[in-house]
Amino acid sequence: MSILQRLRPWRRLRELGILGMNQRNGDYILRYNPRRNFPLVDDKRRTKQLAEAAGVAIPKLYGVIEIEHQIDSLESILAQHSDFVAKPSHGSGGEGILVVTGRSQKGFRKSSGLIISQAEFKHHISNILSGMYSLGGLPDAALFEKRVNFYPVFESISYQGVPDIRTIVFRGIPVMAMIRLPTRLSDGRANLHQGAIGVGINIKTGITLSGVWRDQTLDRHPDTGAPIIGLQIPYWDDILLLTARCYNLARLGYIGVDIVLDRDLGPLMLELNARPGLSIQLANDFGLLNCLRKIEKFLVIPESFHDRVEIAKSLADDCGSSQKF
């Protein structure tokens, strides 16, 4: 790095094609994500309905609780399920999500192995309803859905909880992906700012690149010690197709699609995010801008998501993993 670059680091970031927060908001979210479509992705229940209608695979929804009074009827919803996930419908950043892996006499067992009592569990649901985890603190609904039995290939590289695959999809074309691995620090959750690891994925092949954890790069899982580089993500083509399809659900130009791999059901769409974070660039070791700029120039984007995946793969050579910073 020359002295000039050292003095003007923003120049260097620009050259590397790193997308900054202001530019993400100003040039992509504001321009490509129409405001009126936000509720479709901010409300996970509506996203699920849309996905079901479009035939996009999702984890099965067990039930919804909307008002305080219904909390007492929780048992009837969850009676047949010993494991499930409770999450706020309007949650963001993975907050308020409670993963229950089993039951005991005292209450529920969380993915971390800790037991929470019935009362604590109900208080948590009540907090969700009162809007504690929702954007803007508005009253919310609590969703109960099937807990994903994650694919065994990930067993050695995740510490409690479910790893998920985050893909940035721009105008329906997947441009960058990473797999997020829960750690002890993240308490089983798969959000990078909560301490999960992000591992970049080669869009073309579905093989993992290097990982990033708390701003530093690493090649082994900090808790399990298993290598995280060079793994082949199963069902990669299906995953790409699924992400490309998700664009049609909400018609938002710049989204993050979260996908989990179920042992039996294959890739399932967990949620869509209208304001996906920027850390994916660190996990992939390259900036988003080059690719986004190329796609911005396209006058027409094919309707078929197969074609869009092809475009994604062809672009991967130009602006993807080959162009590392």
Partner: protein, 514 residues
């Protein structure tokens, strides 16, 4: 046209509009750009005492009008039951006329005025402006026994002078010389008061066919209680009126003298009263230059000043003094968040805290804020244990915050720390929300993150306070609120800033290191 260009053009228009209004006010109306030191102002009170004769009374008082070297910034009359009218008389004077149908006994009328030294060319001596050449006076008929003395004197003076000015000076010097000859002794014996002396001078000058007139000056000095007008004389040299001190021959009105009146008419006249007496009290005040400039601008009859903040009642003005700083604080927050990349609890929470710091002083503000948040957090954790619903819990935190504020006020008052009383000025809803948010972050991301964000918010509040406290900014934004258009423009431009935040240079440092 792209959105960014659109914003740029809009910002340009706003900046042009804001700065041209501002420039007009600064250059044309002379509003000060700097808060500056206080300016000395002369406060003059003319007191007209008389005894009314049980019947209608009319009182006329000559008033100064655009005196050279001074600017009247304020004047007012204390007239009591008298009706008051002000008119221009004889071109370069003003006259106040008080009238009442019935008055008896001792009456006093007051006229106050405030003047500041003003050396600008405008407004020039009105006598000069109307440079109508006065007619040459007729040679007066001196009494038999004086005529010879006057003639002798004029002859003598004429020999020793070149023009009207030197003639007059020579004449005055002679009349006042201590080694007076017989002629002068005779002349001097005719004059008692200064007024008589000036009258005599006028008539002698008329003998030389030099037009002259009397002027009345008021000498300004601090603490005068019973001042009076001092008559001088002005002679016309064919183009200008030149003032002369009838005692020393000095031909320039001194800086500390106010030209009260031009002409021979008495300074005041009373119909229906007697024992009239005119006295002056003079004092020196210091005032904000802003006030003077504002009054001066108003005197210039500017429409803009009529629609300025100065036209509001003082109390409302003071509210706006604070309110107008909020946009500055808001722009500062935009800068910190979008350019620097600071995280704070709540977008504009720091501004409101900073506004509270204005009242509490910085150190006490920080201490009280930290104390309140810390105590609030403690109690909030207890509430968490009780597992309350969100809105009741928020309300409970709010109530606790107010109870804490009250307790702190009472205790600090007991302990004699009066600064603790100002805690009541904190925006309590904002405090309650801060406590709530902080406890959530504490729960979910740990104490470190919560303290980091809390201290970050406090630091931003302190910075916003220091910016909003800046005396010059306060001054400039209040005097030139048009600058808010510029602030708006800057905010709009920041709204289209898509460059990196400074914290992102750190965040993506691993990319930079390669």
């Amino acid at each position: 046209m792209s959105k960014t260009t659109h914003v740029k053009i809009l910002a340009l228009i706003l900046i042009l509009a804001g700065s041209s209004l501002c420039a007009y006010k600064a250059i044309k109306l002379g509003l000060p750009l700097l808060p500056g030191e206080e300016i000395e102002v002369w406060s003059v009170e003319a007191r007209l005492k008389f005894r009314a004769k049980k019947g209608p009374v009319k009182v006329r008082l000559m008033l100064p009008f655009a005196p050279p070297g001074h600017l009247i910034v304020d004047e007012n009359f204390v007239s009591g039951k008298y009706g008051l009218s002000i008119q221009k008389v004889e071109g370069s004077n003003r006259q106040a006329e008080w009238a009442v149908r019935r008055a008896s006994g001792n009456e006093i009328l007051y006229y106050h005025l405030q003047i500041v030294p003003d050396n600008s060319d405008e407004p020039a001596d009105p006598g000069k402006k109307k440079a109508v050449k006065p007619p040459f006076p007729k040679t007066p008929e001196y009494p038999e026994y004086l005529a010879a003395a006057v003639d002798a004197l004029l002859d003598e003076v004429r020999h020793k002078s070149a023009d009207t000015a030197t003639f007059t000076r020579e004449l005055i010097v002679r009349l006042n010389s201590k080694t007076a000859d017989e002629n002068l002794k005779l002349l001097n014996s005719q004059t008692g008061s200064e007024l008589d002396r000036v009258r005599q001078l006028t008539s002698i000058l008329a003998g030389a066919r030099i037009p002259s007139r009397m002027i009345n000056l008021l000498f300004l000095s601090d603490g005068v209680r019973h001042g009076s007008l001092v008559p001088w004389i002005q002679v016309h040299d064919g183009s200008d009126w030149i003032p002369f001190n009838p005692e020393s021959g000095e031909s320039k009105i001194p800086q500390d003298a106010l030209l009260w009146q031009i002409g021979d008419q008495p300074p005041f006249e009373i119909e229906g009263g007697r024992n009239g007496e005119l006295e002056f009290s003079i004092g020196r005040l210091s005032q904000e230059p802003l006030m003077i400039a504002e009054r001066r601008a108003r005197k210039m009859n500017s429409r803009i000043m009529e629609f300025s903040l100065f036209s509001l009642p003082i109390q409302t003005q003071n509210v706006y003094r604070i309110l107008l700083m909020v946009p500055i604080g808001a722009m500062f927050i935009v800068f910190l968040r979008n350019i620097v990349g600071f995280k704070t609890f709540g977008t504009f929470m720091p501004i409101l805290i900073a506004l509270a710091f204005r009242e509490t002083e910085l150190m006490w503000g920080v201490i009280l804020f930290s104390l309140l948040v810390a105590l609030g957090l403690l109690l909030r954790f207890y509430l968490e244990y009780l597992q309350l619903l969100l809105v009741p819990r928020l309300a409970a935190v709010l109530i606790i915050v107010i109870l804490l504020m009250m307790t702190i006020s009472i205790f600090s008052h007991r302990l004699g720390i009066e600064s603790g009383l100002s805690v009541a000025l904190f925006p309590m809803v904002i405090l309650a929300m801060t406590i709530e948010r902080m406890s959530l972050v504490w729960e979910e991301h740990g104490a470190g993150e919560a303290l980091q964000q809390g201290i970050g918010s406090l630091a931003v509040a302190v910075m916003a306070y220091l910016v909003m406290r800046n005396e010059w900014l306060n001054h400039i934004i209040f005097v030139f609120p048009d600058l808010l258009l510029t602030v708006l423009a800057a905010t709009l431009l920041l709204g289209r800033y898509t460059g990196y935040r400074i914290t992102e240079l750190w965040r993506f440092r691993s990319a930079l290191q390669r």
